[in-house]
């Protein structure tokens, strides 16, 4: 699923820093297709590092909603 480019060629690369993560769950609450939490420490897991375009807006929201600034996104050209 990852790495697929879309109609306009825009791709988003998602990464998370587990050393910063505080396990608030805001990312998985808002974009469960892209983020999860590990069951032991509750820290972020990126399920889909290059999510489809229809989720880009939601992922950007997740970046803003993360209280620990643990999520980074980079726009990649096709």
């Amino acid at each position: 699923m990852s790495g697929v480019s879309h109609a306009d060629g825009e791709r988003l690369r998602v990464a998370a820093d587990r050393t910063k993560c505080c396990g608030s769950g805001m990312c998985t609450l808002n974009v469960p297709d892209v983020f999860d939490q590990d069951p032991d420490e509750g820290l972020v897991i990126v399920l889909d590092p290059e999510p489809p375009q229809e989720l880009h807006h939601a992922v950007e929201d997740a970046v803003e909603l993360c209280p620990a600034s643990a999520i980074r996104v980079a726009r990649l050209s096709a």
């Binding site: 608030s24 999860d36 820290l43 209280p67």
Partner: protein, 419 residues
Amino acid sequence: MTLADQTATADPATADPTAATAILAVPASRGTCPFDPPPAYERAREEEPAAPVRLWDGSITWMLTRHQDIRAVLGDRRFSADANRPGFPFLSAGRRALATMNASFIRMDDPEHARLRRMLTGDFIVKRAEALRPRIRAIAEDLLAAMTQGRSGERAGHADLVREFALPLPSLVICLLLGVPYEDHAYFQQRSSTILSNTAGLDEVRTARADLNAYIKQLTEAKRRRDEDDDILSRLIRHDDLTDDEIAAMGMLLLVAGHETTANMTALSVLALLRDPVQLGRLRADPTLIRGAVEELLRYLTIVHTGVARVATEDVEIAGRTIRAGEGVLCMINAANRDERVFPGAGVLDVGRDARRHLAFGFGVHQCLGQPLARTELQVALEVLLEGLPNLGLAVPFEEIPFRHDMLVYGVRSLPVAW
């Protein structure tokens, strides 16, 4: 102008009295609408977003009121949550005593904070809160049945929603998760209440804290001997690197925070909806609004209403001021959640609004650990009440509802309802 200049002006012995009275005393009083933040905070947000304010002991600290500034401070590691650092602001002598004795990780900085918090984050992940939903719903339905069948001894069709539903629901849930016997609820609820009071005397607060500390230690001792339970306290005991004091501090934090916050948020949400028949009607007509409505109620009501405290460890520029190392800040999240720059029409409750940027659970690495559980409990509580009581209303005039102005967690002391 630095805070030191302000302190000099504010010293009652030397100050020009007009200058001294110009400094706001916090916590400030609310205005005519008991759901709105104190008008002084809202004024400060527009006129002086970093304002020097006076605390109970005459000391001066910075008050922040804008969403953007509070987000920045709570997300900035140069601001410490360690109450033992000089300059940390307290709301009362009791609060100072509590925050500095056997503190839990909410009063620590990383890496120590992260080490302890991560022992608990797995218990409060979103998926676990979702998995608990059917159980929470069953508890809520039982409480509603007991309430409506008049087992509480009130006259038919009437009850105090706080006592019969809003308080027992999260209390039962946190007892279940922690492994605390619910039969002891009168004991721990009374002491929690003292601990969360901004006006309780120093001795009273110390006694309540010591009682709860001893209570948790006694429970963990019994669990250690049995070594068979699968609850949070039992799992904490199995961490070799935790002291008994650390376990007791974490247990107390979860027990107190786990029931008082959701209980008050539930009752206050019901009251706010009963006062706003249009919003209540929207929610009844379309139950899919409930998740968003809970976020909006969290924003609109913001029960942590007396400020989130931090102290600067370096000089930091915020809202056009320099907060010097060693100066305290109080982040008024209730004012930030009414900031028009982020929430247009912020003074209005709108269950259809995207309110996810609210700061009701705080922000930064200390953001509420139990928020997934709190959300599930609030969603279930409102669903069960709206479905089960189509004619729910207040049983007394609104003006007679007693609000918890003096408590760290805002809410109502009782909520007489009829159906």
